[in-house]
Amino acid sequence: MNVQPAANRSFSRRGFLGLTAAAASVPLLAACGGGSATQGGGGAGGTIKFWDMPWAAPAYNDAAKKLAEGFSGANSKASYQIIQWNNFYQTFSSAIASKSGPAVSTGGGFQAFQFEQQGQIAYADKVIEELKKNGQFDDFLPGVLDPFKTDKGYVAVPWQLDMRPLWYRKSLFEKAGVEVPTDWATLLEAGKKLKSIGAFGFATGSGAGNNIGNHTMILMMINNGGGVFTKDGQLDVMNDRNVEAIEFMLELVSNGIIDPAAVSYTTDNLNAQWKDGKAAFGPYVLGVPERVGDTSGDIVVASPIAGPHGDKTALVFPNNIMMYTNTPSQEASEAFLVHYMGQIKELWRQKLMNALPVFKSITELPEFTSDPNNVKIVKEYVPIAKTFASQGTALSADLAALDGGQALNQFTQTILTGRTDAKSALQAFESGLKSVLKK
């Protein structure tokens, strides 16, 4: 009979339990270990971790990966990772907090300023110096670098411009027998005539996940010389120009020039309105014809319109690349960023981008100039474009709370439902913003 001695059995059980405990403690110890050198921002062996967003079709990320992984400098190489937009801020935050974040990344328009507040951003002054040496600094379009300059240094380096140009459908204006608007007064008149043919003279939307409506509100404020912030970055919601702009928006709503259902339009709904010939005029992103599936040439970029006081402004979001303090080598991060900025031309050459470039040389590429809408935006919109900072030039972390926050979205939806007056809506907006910005 094969009977194990009791002591042996006992030992075996203890041994088993010991092994179990040891195995269970491995993840615990690993979790307690936090960011070791190998888990740190850059990874081991001088590998620069570059995180990028899905800025366009999947082909974009494939091309960007090749550009990033083509880096070899400062005894380093680079790895490439796509980060989805869903909860991207949390993805970055938790990775940075656990010291497993990237060394360099693209991301939200104001993300660099948010992380700068937490002391997580490495300033890009040395990169700018390098760009001056290799001639790329002089290649920047006018004014695109200024929003990133702070007292402490350059928080990030811009690499593409997300503009909100005005688009219109030619055939609808011809059918309504009206000229394309050049100012607010003609916008109102054209809108009334377009309504008579069943089209909307000012297309926008603020449904689930659609921020075009929010951008429209800020665009109209700054187009009237107003905006949410003063030149020195102070909150200034209740100024007369803003009140006037919002009264005009309410007039567009009450006249049916803005679709009464626009408040709930997702981007898909808005695309459908443009495709189905319901939307005649309105602010949107680059590449609307391709986006909505009508490349017949009927949907084209309009010239910027003037406000009642003659102000003419466009709205732009300068997207940027930032470096983090958690890196295996700051020198390698800088070398990587200089390398990547020198390569991004390829993305426009392959027609993968749905945004404007920041370099003049890219705007001169035949692949870019072949689209007359692109040429018009660079020529007419870029020189007059302002950011969410409104009258100010420098961006800040506060703008993230404005852009994605509840206050602006609620304000926009209140206006689009038309069940308010301008001053009450602006007061509620200001109060909502204050409660967020004080944090």
Partner: protein, 330 residues
């Protein structure tokens, strides 16, 4: 050797006494009992130790999975930080601010209505269909599968389909209303209609779950009970109210508890269809918590909302659980 008679032996045996008599026998018995007890307690202690060590990894894992996030959330709820920094300790200030905020109470009110309509609407539809499918109908199995589709189809797909049905004035359902001379309702743009639409969407998504729960409960009901009731002259309505409902009460309460939790915690149904709008008309507490944390970057108030939701859910669940116990006793 013992000289006890058989009957007295049985009596002793019943009393548990040893054959040697109460004197020496008792001593022997005590020794035996002590030894037995010692052995048992040794075994018991050994078993307990074994169980303890076997359970320890699972307990550690549970603490890590549930305890740590809860503890961390508690820290966040009492601080004024953001997603990166914990911030300063503010005590119950976040809870006080949340409870004094009109947005919280508006969201709480919507959550309440959304839950009431979601639970009882889906239960009524599920009950009706379960009773219908109980009768012999041609292709009953196929119907059951088809009726499960709203529950099976991913919510991203069904919300897109519903958006296509109602979003614009030219969508299918507004067009039908217009052609019937009922105007052009803006189902997602009008705050009241948007709230109603979201609730109907929730009922549509949830009724198959209720139908399955009730079908399972109905399957266990003995049909002879109905035959007996018929012979006693009970009407169909009396049979339904006096037999069917009491017999499925237990699973009904369970399904109510589950659906209450599903409704209160439901994020995608609302967020994908309306994003919580227009003008917060469909913002539930979970949507408000999400927006507060991830859009306003205010983790303290956002987590405080989540805590308040959890506490409310626990209270409601306990009340419904008591109903289950009550129905079991009855």
């Amino acid at each position: 050797m013992s000289s006890t008679t058989a009957p007295s032996g049985l009596a002793r045996a019943r009393k548990g006494l040893a054959p040697g008599g109460p004197g020496g026998g008792s001593r022997n018995r005590k020794d035996l009992n002590r030894k037995d007890l010692n052995r048992k307690s040794k075994l018991s202690a050994q078993t307990s130790r074994t169980f303890f060590w076997l359970l320890l990894p699972s307990v550690i894992l549970l603490v890590l999975i549930h305890g740590y996030p809860l503890f961390h959330a508690g820290i966040q709820a009492t601080h004024d930080g953001n997603l990166i920094e914990t911030g300063n300790f503010v005590g119950v200030e976040n809870f006080a601010n949340v409870l004094s905020s009109p947005a919280f109470w508006k969201a709480a009110q919507f959550t309440l209505w959304f839950t009431i309509v979601g639970v009882f609407g889906s239960w009524l539809v599920g009950l009706g269909l379960a009773l219908l499918l109980r009768t012999k109908i041609p292709a009953g199995g196929t119907f059951k599968v088809l009726l499960l589709l709203p529950w099976v189809v991913p919510i991203v797909v069904s919300s897109t389909a519903w958006n296509w049905l109602v979003a614009t004035p030219d969508s299918l359902i507004p067009s039908i209303f217009r052609n019937l001379g009922l105007g052009t309702p803006l189902f997602l743009a009008d705050p009241t209609l948007a709230a109603v639409t979201v609730m109907i969407f929730k009922v549509w998504v949830s009724f198959p779950f209720m139908m399955m729960m009730i079908s399972a409960a109905l399957a266990s009901v003995d049909t002879t009970v109905y035959e007996a009731a018929s012979m006693d002259g009970a009407s169909r309505w009396q049979q339904f109210t006096q037999i069917t409902l009491p017999l499925i009460a237990r699973s009904t309460y369970i399904s109510w508890i589950l659906m209450t939790i599903f409704c209160v915690n439901d994020f995608p149904t609302i967020y994908l269809l309306t994003g919580g709008g227009p003008v917060d008309a469909t913002t539930s507490l979970v949507v408000l918590a999400y927006r507060t944390v991830f859009q306003d970057f205010a983790t303290g108030p956002g987590v405080a909302i989540a805590f308040l939701m959890t506490m409310t859910l626990v209270v409601v669940s306990v009340i419904l659980y008591r109903q289950i116990r009550k129905s079991s006793v009855e």
